[in-house]
């Protein structure tokens, strides 16, 4: 089994086409849509996780490519430093895939499975507790 995350970008000519339903119908994969939005220019963006047999997941992405869907495959690139984290929660509203959440007692939880390394949370943390691996290495 493979699980692969991607940010899909649909041009305005694709937004109203049943691409995702075609994907689910034709390939034995589960598609988890973490976040979807349509811009005023009517472009669509979707964060997805596609899960299934390795070869079939590959074919599913080929199918998307064939339908001219732009794709970004984020590297797992985020470092959450719990020693610097003060559990304020300022990052949570910026994490669209909900990799960052607060639990019942207000403590921050980081679920790296859900993280797509979009890095939107990094500038939102006032305490330097979030950073990218590349930043870390440089």
């Amino acid at each position: 089994m493979t699980k692969k995350s991607a940010i899909l970008h649909f041009g305005s000519d694709l937004v109203d086409k049943p691409i995702i339903s075609g994907l689910i119908r034709n390939y034995d994969v589960s598609v988890n849509i973490l976040q979807a939005s349509i811009t005023p220019e009517e472009d669509g963006t979707m964060f997805v996780q596609i899960e299934g047999e390795h070869a079939i997941v590959q074919k599913a992405f080929d199918y998307l490519r064939d339908h001219r869907v732009d794709m970004i495959f984020p590297a797992k690139n985020l470092i959450w430093d719990d020693k610097k984290c003060v559990d304020c929660g300022a990052c949570v509203a910026h994490c669209l895939p909900r990799a960052l959440t607060v639990d019942g007692s207000g403590k921050l939880q980081f679920n790296s499975e859900r993280c797509i390394a979009c890095e939107l949370c990094i500038p939102a943390c006032p305490y330097h507790a979030l950073g990218s691996v590349s930043e870390h290495l440089s």
């Binding site: 559990d87 929660g89 300022a90 509203a93 006032p126």
Partner: protein
């Protein structure tokens, strides 16, 4: 039954004081009623932890040999104020290195500033000190570059002109089509998120809304050590409209705080970088409230549902000092992670930390329970409603002769 400070301190010394946090007291008062709770409980501890920009450190380096009167000075390249006596220095938490790129590449990162210097000092790290002077007959030395460490300084005092705001704004971006970068964090367009910054039911001044026990001389938890309230804070404004429970409907009272940095710990004193805005310092504060009577414990039983915060637009109204709050929402709603504003669900984000506020209230509770922290009676109150003290905006008058 009423209690005096002396009686409560006697109990603390004998290890007999009953201490609860401002969160724990809510249920107790609900279960037992204020009268019974006031008989049983002696002290309620509060806590808050968040960026507090009106903070700084007053440092004395000791005299150099030969002597020097610092006129321009830096700590880790961050400028330090030296318009006071020869070897006294004041470093404000929002100060930035002269060559910081600020917002030249927007949004700037503001990685290091006065708040971070203070965190480094409190952590016991070495800091580079540079200063120059014009030289005088009594203070001939003109330059110094040296490594300093807090343990070598004759004194290091945290001296904060305005902390612990009694309630605060909730910030949203109502009009800008792009994210805005504010001291309240990043606000996404179209009401993308609502940011707030108060410990609500744990916050010191919200538990003593009329400043009955928090006054000049009140001993407190400050940055992991002990400190004192030395005055009302700047912009102290007791006259802000209040709800039927007497809780201000927006930022009202403030406290000026002082404490010995050598007793503090990095856990509660943290440099802050607000992307696109600047640097600051997050300060941990805990204030004990003596349960003098039933009325006092009733005000400590305030809960997040009773405290309302004003929602302000930070894209146009706040910066231009115009308009009015979009709405008022309770801290119970804010804490749930979502507020409902004009029919929309908006995700909330806190800039201050509730888990840290809780930890501070618990720590102070332990100090008192263990007999290591006695309460002080204020030597004078800070001004309350009806005192005539009122905040007002800048009165801008043209300079004579200038057009």
């Amino acid at each position: 039954m009423t209690k005096t400070y002396e009686e409560i301190n006697e109990k603390i010394k004998n290890g007999k004081a009953v201490v609860v946090t401002a969160e724990e007291v809510i249920e107790i008062v609900k279960d037992k009623g204020a009268k019974k709770a006031a008989d049983e409980i002696d002290v309620v501890t509060t806590g808050t932890f968040g960026p507090m920009c009106s903070s700084g450190a007053l440092l004395n380096t000791g005299h150099t040999k030969p002597r020097m009167n610092y006129k321009r000075a830096y700590l880790n390249r961050v400028p330090v104020y030296c318009g006071v006596a020869a070897v006294d220095l004041y470093i404000g938490v929002t100060a930035m290195p002269d060559d910081d790129p600020a917002n030249k590449v927007f949004p700037g990162k503001f990685e290091y500033g006065g708040g971070h210097v203070i965190e480094d000092l409190v952590s016991g790290k070495d800091v580079v000190f540079e200063a120059t002077s014009h030289g005088t007959q009594c203070y001939p030395r003109k330059e110094i570059t040296a490594t300093i460490n807090i343990r070598d300084l004759p004194s290091a005092t945290l001296l904060n002109p305005r902390n612990a705001y009694q309630n605060y704004n909730v910030a949203v971006n109502a009009h800008a089509k792009h994210p805005i970068y504010t001291y309240m964090g990043i606000l996404r367009p179209n009401f993308g998120n609502a940011n707030y910054c108060s410990a609500g039911q744990l916050s010191p001044l919200l538990n003593d809304p009329n400043y009955r026990t928090i006054g000049i001389g009140t001993k407190i938890f400050l940055g992991g050590g002990t400190g004192y309230v030395f005055y009302q804070g700047t912009q102290h404004n007791p006259e802000v409209p209040r709800n039927e429970k007497g809780i201000p409907m927006g930022g009202a009272g403030t406290l000026a705080l002082v404490g010995d940095m050598k007793t503090m710990s990095r856990r509660y004193i943290r440099g802050v970088s607000m992307t696109g805005y600047g640097v600051s310092l997050a300060v941990g504060i805990g204030v004990p409230i003596p349960v003098l009577d039933e009325e006092m414990i009733a005000s400590c039983a305030v809960s997040d549902a009773d405290i309302m915060a004003p929602v302000w637009d930070y894209s146009e109204d706040y910066p231009n000092f115009q308009g009015k709050p979009i709405a008022h929402v309770s801290y119970a709603e804010l804490g749930s992670g979502r507020i409902n504003l004009q029919g929309r669900e908006i995700e909330t984000a806190s800039i201050s930390s509730m888990p840290m506020a809780r930890e501070i209230a618990q720590t102070l509770k332990k100090w008192i329970t263990d007999g290591n922290f006695l309460l002080t009676k204020p030597s004078a109150p800070i001004p309350g409603t009806g005192s005539g003290v009122k905040y007002h905006p800048f009165v801008e008058r043209p300079v004579k002769g200038n057009k």
